[in-house]
């Protein structure tokens, strides 16, 4: 009933990126991808599929809130909104109107690492979409009136997803505490005071910094041929000049040397516990073992954490874990919502005990097998739509450095042993490496004190 179409969103937890994993007969020839790198440096990946007369087109820009600075936090996300607000040929409002009038729709999301633009359209709109995309990549304009109204839109988005959402608020506080040096410490949507103060110059600088074609990867899946896509790219995209990519993010988060704790007091019916553990970036050898471990602990009602916290001890309404694809070392976040009347620390204790068990002894053969089976089904769930495939292929290409790893993941997962799982449990899930954020319900009266 209350579903409002949220678009152009900050993606706090990009679940699609729990990266699916083929284990069996998922071969690259089942999903043939053709690639070409344009003269301006943009890489294009095409996967034809004629099962429906539609196309999903994704453009991944390697720029996100990690490329920002204090004072202008949230600028990547705000810029993403401005990418819909007018260029040379398609002025303010035209992009959406023209696209929808031709049967298409669009959206975009921004994370700490990337800004991703998505178009979904009937194949009849193919060349129009290229005209629109090239217009805004080449000739984006900034209308002061649009900046003013869009600033309000983003403030409303922040109120929706953070200020009036207990989970969003606690998540923001957790990142801000777990990172003291690296730029993952601020929210993708930006601090409210920064939202209020971005300038047009900030936007122009961001465009120059992040939007070189060489900093982008395009993925097209659907009712197309590789040849026609490459021809469209030659015509519309290739002439766009390239320039320097964003400066590298050189700050490395220092090792955490002891547990950090924070509390948020807020009117609420139920508490929330979030525990963040520092882990390596997506493209690292522990990636597969860590995902298997997370499956064993959190995936499905037979998982260890669900069995313990939700079912047996009835401490929590839900317990889950998330990790976002990341270029730099990031967090695995364990989230539990304690049942009413349950001390959040009782949830914490149970979580630590379950973690100690996987550290202390290898998981069972059946558990390992189950986790691998789950990764396989997940893979097919992602690959069954043109949209899911565009996102997954692009994510592997951008975060793993090569889309082929999507098809190699089969081997990588089957190579994971019980010992690997135990090793990553010990490596990452220690007390010194964790930040514990707790939201405690507080009634109106005491909240004001």
């Amino acid at each position: 009933m209350t579903t409002i179409r949220y678009r152009r969103t900050v993606l706090l937890l990009l679940c699609a990126l729990s990266i699916a994993s083929p284990v069996m007969h998922a071969q690259s020839q089942d999903f043939p991808v053709t690639t070409r790198t344009l003269k301006n440096g943009m890489k294009v990946l095409v996967q034809p599929d004629h099962s429906i007369p539609n196309v999903a087109l994704y453009i991944f820009y390697r720029i996100g809130s990690r490329n920002e600075h204090p004072g202008t936090t949230g600028l990547s996300h705000f810029f993403e909104h401005m990418m819909f607000n007018g260029a040379k040929k398609y002025g303010p409002g035209d992009l959406d109107k023209v696209m929808e009038a031709n049967g298409g729709s669009n959206n975009a999301y921004t994370t700490q690492n990337v800004t991703v633009y998505q178009d979904w359209f009937p194949r009849s709109a193919l060349s129009l979409i290229y005209d629109i995309e090239s217009d805004r990549i080449r000739d984006l304009t900034f209308d002061p009136k649009k900046i003013a109204s869009e600033r309000e839109v983003v403030a409303s988005e922040r109120r929706l997803s953070v200020d009036n959402s207990n989970f969003g608020l606690l998540d923001e506080q957790l990142w801000a505490t777990a990172f003291i040096a690296h730029t993952y410490q601020w929210p993708v949507v930006g601090w409210m005071s920064d939202i209020e103060h971005w300038t047009m110059d900030d936007l122009k600088h961001h465009f120059e910094m992040g939007y070189s074609p060489s900093n982008a990867t395009m993925v097209v899946v659907g009712d197309v041929s590789s040849d026609e896509i490459f021809q469209l790219c030659e015509k519309y995209i290739e002439p766009i000049p390239t320039h320097a990519p964003p400066p590298p993010v050189t700050t490395v988060e220092p090792e955490q040397l002891g547990e950090r704790r924070l509390v948020v007091h807020k009117p609420a019916e139920l508490p929330i516990v979030m525990i963040g553990y520092h882990v390596l970036q997506t493209n690292n050898p522990d990636f597969y073992a860590l995902n298997i471990l997370r499956s064993v602990l959190f995936q499905g009602e037979s998982s260890r954490m669900y069995q313990r916290l939700v079912d047996k001890d009835q401490l929590a309404l839900d317990v889950s874990s998330d990790v976002e694809p990341a270029f730099d070392p990031t967090l695995v976040i364990v989230t539990a919502q304690p049942r009413q009347g349950v001390d959040p620390q009782a949830c914490e204790k149970a979580i630590y005990e379950e973690l100690d068990k996987v550290k202390g002894a290898p998981i069972g053969d059946q558990e390992l097998e189950k986790a691998k089976n789950n990764r396989l089904v997940e893979f097919y769930r992602e690959m069954r739509t043109i949209n899911g495939r565009a996102n997954t292929i692009g994510t592997y290409e951008v975060f793993m450095g090569d889309y082929n790893k999507l098809f190699d993941a089969a081997k990588s997962y089957s190579a994971v042993t019980k010992e690997d799982v135990q090793r990553v449990a010990k490596k990452y899930f220690g007390a010194n490496n964790r930040t514990v954020a707790t939201l405690l319900p507080e009634d109106e009266g005491s909240a004001k004190q």
């Binding site: 009933m1 209350t2 309000e152 839109v153 409303s156 309404l317």
Partner: protein, 456 residues
């Protein structure tokens, strides 16, 4: 992955319907490409059949299907299901209970056996029942911490009053405490019967083999009579009423405005869809243009018709910071008035038609989407033409048809308002919208005074 493109007109893939000896209606749709099988079943009784005061009964019954069978504990069921990477879910909406499952084709025998076990042989153990009821109760509280997720429940409650569509399908803080195991087993026995169920299977399988397997599993479900649920007629609300739900820490007001809409089989349904696409059903809709794009009042504004057996709710939904609550609501009302005054133009119609047709194919792309579509259509008595004739029906909508649809189906003078927000900041100003304003606090149990507050 590749089959012939069907660029001209979109059609449902071939599928067959059969009725097993026990009365179970079965729909089968073969779809190649990904080695998955999707099951979607409808038990033709939903939350609208919950006894007043025991809202949530149909949902809790559905949630308990997997929580213990004649041969499996809840834990064993989960272990067996998770081992094959399968999924199983059951829930009740207003009109029906839906049960769905998904698994790899290679696990067909095991997957089907698990599905049948849950549907045919649940035992509703007392311990699991107590657990689900307590969890559901906390679930309601957790939802109330996120105002956007409960706006629709308050809206339905205020709009429908004691009509079954006003009841929260997952129950509330009071009703969940009243539900006893005995009521659950009775609900199951009265409603979960093959003759009261439509079962669809779609995906990569061989139809002949599937028929045989279904006979072996669900064919063993003993025929029995089921309660025939009827939904009372729902009449539009007259005049203007406003319910304000106080959430003292809110910095943003969440609002719903509308009245009772249409039934799923309404002859105007396609024209309504076209008009609503223009009014509030897409990003460039008049509502979103006004409230988001032009004014920046909100991150999003939309409208939709939730069509059901009896006329379901129609609403305009949005949110805005406390300070702009009145200007945003005023603007939403102006957009509604403008729709009535100006109707829609040829150009708007053309655009909306392209949009609906262009965006439709990805909604019937997967076996999971397809099986749900054919089973729901079967439930509402809508045939394949609902999909196969969609393009032609959309194209047939003219400005004059649109005008009639606006007058008949979009409210204007009779409106229900439901707001969740900081009452101390907005109450004095929002009174003006209605002759009558009711007020509650979000922590008060229920979603408006419980329907009839019936005590047994």
């Amino acid at each position: 992955m590749c089959s012939a493109a069907s660029a001209q007109s979109l059609r449902l893939p071939p599928h067959e319907k059969l009725v097993l000896k026990n009365g179970l209606t079965v729909l089968l749709l073969e779809k190649r490409g990904v080695p998955l099988i999707d099951i979607f079943a409808i038990v033709k009784t939903g939350a609208a059949a919950d006894p007043s005061g025991e809202e949530g009964l149909a949902s809790v019954t559905a949630a308990l299907l997997r929580k213990g069978t004649k041969t499996r504990t809840a834990q064993q069921f989960s272990a067996d299901l998770d081992y094959i990477g399968g999924s199983f879910g059951a829930d009740a909406g207003a009109d029906f209970t839906n049960i769905s499952a998904e698994f790899l084709t290679k696990d067909l025998a095991r997957g089907l056996e698990l599905f049948s076990d849950a549907v045919l042989h649940p035992t509703f153990p007392q311990g699991e029942t107590d657990k689900i009821l307590a969890q559901s109760l906390d679930g309601v509280k957790a939802e109330k911490d996120e105002p956007r997720s409960v706006l629709g429940l308050y809206y339905a409650g205020y709009l429908y009053g004691t009509h079954p569509y006003g009841r929260p399908s997952d129950g509330d803080e009071l009703s969940l405490k009243r539900i006893q195991r005995d009521a659950i087993t009775k609900f199951y026995e009265a409603n979960y019967a093959p003759g009261n169920t439509i079962l669809g299977v779609a995906g990569e399988f061989d139809a002949a083999e599937m028929r045989k397997k279904l006979e072996e599993t669900l064919g063993a479900w003993p025929a029995r009579s089921a309660t025939n649920t009827s939904i009372p007629a729902s009449a539009s609300a007259k005049g203007k009423k406003l319910l304000l739900i106080d959430k003292p820490d809110a910095t943003q007001t969440y609002f719903a405005i509308g009245n009772i809409g249409t039934a799923a089989n309404d002859p105007d349904r396609v024209a309504i869809r076209v008009v609503n696409t223009i009014f509030g059903g897409r990003f460039t809709s008049e509502l979103n243009e006004a409230l988001r794009v032009e004014s920046g009042y909100t991150y999003g504004a939309n409208s939709f018709f939730d069509s059901r057996r009896a006329p379901g709710p129609f609403g305009i939904f949005s949110f805005t910071k406390n300070e702009t609550t009145v200007p945003a609501i005023d603007l939403a009302l102006q957009v509604l008035e403008k729709l009535h005054k100006n109707g829609v133009t040829e150009e708007q119609l053309k655009s909306a038609k392209s949009y609906i047709k262009g965006q439709f194919p990805p909604t019937i792309e997967t076996s999971g989407q397809l099986v749900r579509r054919i089973v729901v259509n079967e439930f509402y008595g809508l045939g394949d033409d609902e999909v196969n004739q969609l393009e032609a029906r959309v194209d047939a909508v003219t400005p004059s048809v649109a005008k009639q649809v606006i007058e008949k189906h979009f409210p204007l003078d009779n409106l229900i308002f439901v707001l969740i927000g900081k009452a101390s900041a907005i109450a004095p100003a929002v009174k003006k919208y209605a002759e009558k304003m009711d007020q509650r606090t979000i922590t008060d149990p229920g979603f408006w005074p419980p329907p009839a507050a019936a005590q047994k």
